[in-house]
């Protein structure tokens, strides 16, 4: 890996301050680079920069490297780093804070694809469906085709159910997504409840068949692929 020198022009203080101002940012300046986060992280060896390095880079404001790193997308949100950090820094939440910034900046790391598929499945169904996840992700990531025999084997053993379990009432879920898209991290119960009341139950019914249709489409596509 080529290592660029750190020059004044590589440091973006606006970006740094933007991150430090968030609720996870407050403690970032107190990192002592102890490395317990990186040492605990199950996937840090796959990352461009370990959580420790990412924290350091945020301190310096190395915007480009931070936002285009695969680190933020590879993180499994296992929270090991956050639980163990002696300074109470939450690298896990830092990743979550950086993702929308990267998206807003139009920096899409290839590792972001899975996240996109995952969130759209949740948005539509309220629950994760292994089948939908894998099938959709395969379409964005051609190398997944190699996994096909394995997938079929799993299906044969009933480990990859085709049935799609859907949440009955997705109103609260939608509110959560809306807030998420607005970039707000705190979800206030009140707001959701209000939105809940606003909703016309008739509209809800109209929407439902439409979505089921979408899912059917999805299923067909996957069948076709097989």
């Amino acid at each position: 890996m080529k290592k660029e020198p750190i020059l004044p022009e590589s440091r973006d203080t606006t970006f740094r301050d933007q991150v430090l101002k968030t609720h996870v940012g407050e403690k970032i300046p107190t990192c002592i680079q102890c490395g317990i986060c990186a040492g605990s992280c199950p996937v840090s060896h796959e990352m461009d920069y370990s959580p420790r390095e990412l924290v350091r880079m945020v301190q310096l404001g190395l915007k480009k490297e931070v936002l285009s790193s695969n680190t933020i997308w590879i993180c499994t949100t296992c929270f090991s780093c956050s639980v163990r950090c002696p300074r109470g820094i939450h690298p896990t939440e830092l990743m979550e804070t950086l993702k929308p910034i990267a998206i807003a900046e139009g920096i899409i790391n290839k590792n972001a694809k899975f996240d996109n598929v995952f969130s759209s499945v949740i948005k539509n169904n309220g629950r994760a469906s292994e089948f939908l996840l894998i099938s959709r992700y395969s379409m964005t990531e051609p190398r997944m085709i190699k996994q096909l025999p394995f997938g079929l084997e799993m299906m044969a053993k009933g480990k990859l159910p085709l049935s799609i379990d859907r949440m009955e009432n997705t109103r609260e879920l939608e509110a959560i997504f809306k807030l998420g898209e607005k970039g707000e991290s705190k979800i206030e119960n009140k707001e959701i409840k209000e939105k809940d009341r606003e909703k016309d139950s008739d509209k809800e019914k109209e929407k439902e068949p439409q979505e089921t249709k979408m899912q059917e489409n999805e299923n067909e596509k996957v069948e076709a692929k097989k």
Partner: protein
């Protein structure tokens, strides 16, 4: 000053470099103050400098002024300095007061407007001047000191203090364990010179044992403290040893006959040299009693107490390791994961393995890892924030010992920062590197015990940015060093405060490092924070010097602010109320014994005819002060006792910000207050009143709830918020949080009231 002459008050304001001057417009404050013709004002850059003090001195000597109000840093820093100066200038020291406009104003109101801080400062000084106008020139009372010192804890710090003091004073040294030496007797070699711990300590312990001026008690703790500084009556609790130390000649006849293994010598070199019995093992067969040639054993021995009279106390209760089992990922306790203290003990006088380093299976560990900062430097609340200071160096010592015992053994040190500041320490680090010890910069992430008894360590080498795994035979955790159990209890009993790390708070961090806020209590060694033997000894010597200086005065000055009984119908309510038995009825009138009185003021509101006042804190004087404070703008009045006042000062030093509506009124104790004073505060425009108490004296705190409830009831008509809170010196963060919350609540309430008065419909309040 003659009776009718009005007081001439000199107000001196200090810029404190820019510390005050940059925040407060002192000139504007001065201009306003000068409107009162009794007041002259002077501003100085540094009042505490000789130029600053000379100015005040001159003004007093020339007769320009006869009372002084200073606006500067906390009185905790310079009140004694200024009062000393006043005395040499011929002014009664009581006629000089300090208003704290630095720690409790210019340093803590960054968020507020300059105007608001200015009006607060102006109000505070006006209040102080108003009270000063009627202050009485009192003379402190004196009391004879008891020339005897109690040293608590016989580690190296306590031993040093005792030996140094015993040159010229009587000392009682108590130790809770059955032997002297503290942690040092459990050390192997000592860094940075690697001399044997026991070899340098034993002569000192023997000297303690033989010194005729030192009375030594082992298995002894402080049970109760009565009396006051300079004259304490302390009850000691002695746990039974079942063997009389004075009679036992250490022959071991008893142990040879005991079938239960219950009677033993703690370890071969233990001082005192006497056997002891572990009653949990003893079968009470009485064999030992029969075989003892000196009749030293008494199986019926019970816990005993004794009472001693001392003038000063030195606390040297040292440290203990944190229990590392809270660090889940380190899997302590497990076989072959030990603390550094266990490691030391294995190679020390206390060794149970014949001074051999060995694993659980008795073999030598060929690969040893040292895990540093286990529980230290942790700001999450799970561990401790502080650095334990000695582990970086002792772990390298231990690593050297491993290499010395077996040249091809491996020793790895996992560290975050290798802290080796101090004379000879960097050289020690260098030398350890030369010995072939492996250093890894990275905090260990996990220690996983394997089925074969080895241990896997997972870590990141932060210098390379790569994860790694290694297998070891033994893992040594270097735990955070924390104040020993019981430090808080003994500090509370003696009225000494602790820092938020639990160690004893020094009177002044830099300038009075072994004094405490109690003038007759001193401290030395690790009870003041982790440190090495060199520093513990240095502090022991310093503490001895300070104790000796204190005792040398022969007398102790007692603050003269005591109750004055100017009207009494003999009802005896005050006598009943006084928790210190300082009042008695004599010939149908209440009489005070001033030396027993602590000036707590409980008797003041107790008197049904308002016949008692604390001198210089009378209702009239307090009310004049409150009126002055609130004359510029409404604010929140906070009555605060000296212990909580210290917390507010620490908040200031740490620049913890809070609302400038907060105005402290320093009182000897919140118990001098009654509804009379609090109602006056509300009438003068206080938007809220807080009572903040910091004392840990249960005789006072047990009455606080009743006081609060009574005040609440009796001031109800004002419909303004009143709150009581207990804040110990260390809890300065809690204090500022509380102040902020209360200030905004009081503000909101005042606003609501304002709107109501104007006839507007109050806005719906949402929860």
């Amino acid at each position: 000053m003659t009776e009718n002459e009005s007081p001439r008050i000199g107000v001196y304001l200090c810029r404190c470099g820019g510390n005050i001057g940059d925040v407060v417009d002192l000139q504007a404050v001065a201009d306003k103050l000068k409107e009162d013709k009794n007041i002259t004002v002077n501003i100085q850059d540094y009042l505490c400098s000789s130029a600053g003090q000379d100015k005040i001195k001159n003004d007093i000597e020339k007769g320009k002024i006869d009372r002084v109000v200073i606006g500067s840093c906390s009185p905790k820093l310079h009140l004694e300095t200024f009062r000393g100066m006043a005395k040499t200038a011929g002014l009664n020291p009581n006629l000089l007061e300090i208003t704290n406009i630095r720690e409790q104003a210019s340093w803590v109101h960054d968020r507020d407007s300059k105007e608001s801080v200015n009006s607060k400062v102006l109000g505070l000084i006006k209040g102080a001047a108003a009270r000063m106008g009627s202050i009485e020139p009192l003379t402190p009372l004196t009391k004879e000191l008891v020339d005897r010192t109690l040293v608590v804890g016989a580690g190296i710090a306590g031993i040093t203090t005792a030996l140094e003091l015993a040159d010229s004073h009587e000392v009682i040294l108590i130790e809770k364990l059955p032997y002297l030496g503290g942690h040092m007797i459990g050390l192997s070699k000592t860094f940075p010179t690697l001399d044997c711990s026991q070899c340098i300590l034993t002569p000192k312990m023997v000297a303690v044992h033989n010194n005729p001026r030192i009375t030594m008690f082992t298995q002894t703790e402080v049970a109760d403290v009565q009396g006051s500084p300079g004259d304490y009556s302390i009850t000691l609790k002695h746990s039974p040893r079942y063997v009389d130390i004075k009679k036992c000649i250490n022959c071991g006849a008893c142990a040879r006959k005991c079938t239960a293994g219950a009677i033993f010598l703690p370890f071969a070199q233990a001082v005192p040299q006497a056997y002891m019995i572990d009653m949990s093992k003893c079968k009470n067969c009485g064999v030992c009693v029969k075989v003892c040639p000196r009749d030293a054993i008494n199986l019926e021995a019970k816990e005993e107490t004794s009472t001693i009279s001392v003038g000063a106390v030195a606390i040297a209760t040292g440290f203990e390791p944190i229990d590392p089992s809270f660090i889940e990922e380190y899997n302590y306790p497990s076989p072959n994961i030990l603390t550094a203290i266990d490691f030391e003990e294995m190679l020390s006088a206390k060794s149970k393995t014949g001074m051999r380093l060995q694993k659980a299976d008795g073999t030598f560990p060929n690969r040893v890892a040292f895990v540093l900062c286990a529980g230290s430097r942790d700001f999450t609340g799970k561990g401790r924030k502080h650095c334990s200071k000695v582990c970086c160096i002792y772990s390298q010592k231990q690593a050297q010992l491993v290499k010395k015992m077996k040249e091809d053994a491996e020793a790895w040190i996992f560290y975050i920062d290798m802290r080796s500041a101090g004379r000879r320490f960097e050289e020690f680090y260098h030398h350890t590197q030369e010995k072939g010890v492996n250093y890894v910069r990275g905090k260990v992430a996990e220690i996983i015990p394997k089925t074969d008894g080895t241990l896997m360590i997972q870590y990141e080498d932060t210098n390379l940015g790569r994860k790694g795994r290694e297998i070891f035979d033994m893992v040594v955790l270097c735990p955070a060093l924390i104040p020993s159990k019981g430090t808080k209890e003994i500090a509370d009993k003696l009225g000494v405060s602790l820092g938020d790390d639990g160690f004893i708070e020094e009177k002044h961090v830099k300038l009075e490092p072994v004094n405490t806020l109690n003038q007759s209590v001193f401290a030395a060694g690790c009870v003041l924070g982790p440190k090495d033997i060199h520093d513990s000894v240095t502090e022991g010597i310093s503490a001895a010097h300070k104790v000796s200086q204190f005792l040398g005065k022969g007398m102790i000055l007692i603050p003269p602010e005591k109750p004055q009984i100017f009207e009494c119908n003999g009802c005896g309510e005050c006598v009943k109320a006084c928790p210190y038995n300082a009042l008695a009825l004599d010939g149908g009138k209440a009489v005070l014994s001033p030396l027993a009185c602590t000036g707590c003021g409980i008797c003041v509101p107790a008197c049904p005819i308002k016949g008692i006042e604390i001198r210089n804190f009378t209702r009239g004087q307090l009310k004049a002060q409150l009126q002055g404070i609130l004359s510029e703008a409404p604010g929140v009045l906070v009555f605060i006792d000296p212990y909580a006042y210290a917390a507010a000062d620490i908040a200031g030093v740490n620049r913890k910000q809070y609302s400038s509506l907060i105005r402290f009124v320093s009182v000897p104790s919140i118990h001098i207050l009654d509804a009379d004073v609090v109602n006056a505060a509300f009438e003068y425009g206080a938007t809220g009143v807080m009572l903040i108490e910091g004392t840990t004296d249960e005789k006072l705190t047990s009455r606080s709830d009743d006081l609060y409830k009574k005040l609440k009831k009796d001031t109800r008509k004002h419909k303004k918020p009143l709150r009581y809170s207990h804040i110990e010196t260390a809890q300065y963060e809690k204090l500022t949080d509380l102040l902020n919350v209360f200030a905004s609540q009081a503000g909101a309430k005042a606003e609501k009231r304002g709107r109501k008065e104007k006839g507007e419909k109050p806005e719906e309040q949402e929860d």
